[in-house]
Amino acid sequence: VKVLVVYSHPLETSLAAAARDRVMKGLADGGHDAHLIDLYAEGFDPLLSREEHANHLAPPSTKPDDVLRHAELLAWCEALVFVYPTWWSGQPAMLKGWFDRVIIHGVAWDLPPNTNRITPLLRNVRRIVAVTSHGSKKWVNALEGEGGKRVLSRTLRLLCHPLTRTTWLSIYDIDNATEKSCTRHLDRVERRMRTLGKWR
């Protein structure tokens, strides 16, 4: 499976960085064709500029270079894997900015004239996987509504293939996590990545 991994964390010492390494290892062991986008490392600008907003309905070829490069990878991949920490019950601003700037008109969706209903363009994507961590307990996140989870499992999925499956691999209550529970989480991540397929 062709996999695009999008990773967002500023520190190399983080659990997210460890998860990213295990994701890449699992994908390599499983014989998958994986490409990694490290948003902080490549200095991605998460701020949607005034020009980009004003021209958001313009054809994709007129977009900035970094957006074009990521858009090409989006059109290539069959699976999307997001590795990030959950902050304020959602994706970090860096990753949210990647959504704002890259998942755009002409790349991910099309808006036929005189309607407000979009048509999906990411038909090549069959799998969405989130690898994340929450500082607070699961019930607190349930109360908060799991905004980040819905953004991936609903908003993004509506732009993909109609049979796209989503997988949520998360560790909760990280503030009080032990080394054992972190290892268990990372092992599970690697195992799931190795066996990643259209249906599993």
Binding site: H9, P10, L11, S14, Y40, P46, L47, L48, S49, R50, E52, H53, A54, W87, W88, S89, G90, Q91, P92, A93, M94, K96, G97, F99, D100, I103, L111, N114, T115, N116, R117, I118, G135, S136, V140, L143, E144, G145, G147, G148, R150, V151, R154, T155, L156, L158, D175, N176
Partner: protein, 197 residues
Amino acid sequence: VKVLVVHAHPNPDSFNAALFRRAVESLTAEGHDVVAVDLYAIGFRPEMSAEERARYETDDPVVDPQVAEQIEHIRTAEAMVFVYPSWWSSLPAVLKGWLERTMVPGVGFILDTRTRKVRPALTQVRHIVGIATYGSPLIYLKVVNDNGRRVLSRALRLSTGPRTKCTWLSLPSIDTSTLEKRTAFLDKVDSTMRGLR
């Protein structure tokens, strides 16, 4: 009432910016003590830097003077008003980043070192108001969930306490909205702001 109004839209000529200006005008006319923050105008950076993340759990988590200034506003605010366009059924990156970078331990919440539990630190905030515009129709919002609203009305409200009132003004289907609808929405923003206590 001391009100902090936070706005995130790249274009000052947009309808969203008009909503922001109207909200600030109405609040000022009512005699409220208003601090208006236009995140794009002040050039606020959305992403948390490596240094900020590394110092997050320490006693001195603030690196950027711009963030320190925002924290001053947050500490005194008795009401918070957010004016933003919903992108990806969620907050624009710069507003999400504003939450992440300013609401550090000691400002948004207190992490009790002994019990390892999180306590709210913004208990002086009595009211959260969201003013949001959406490209998609209401039915789509119901299906995917209004995640931006949940971040502010639930995740942020856990830091202000359960007694904080939350008011939400939303204008869906903005791409096909009529002038009358938009004018009516501006009036609604005006009356809500005037009624803020």
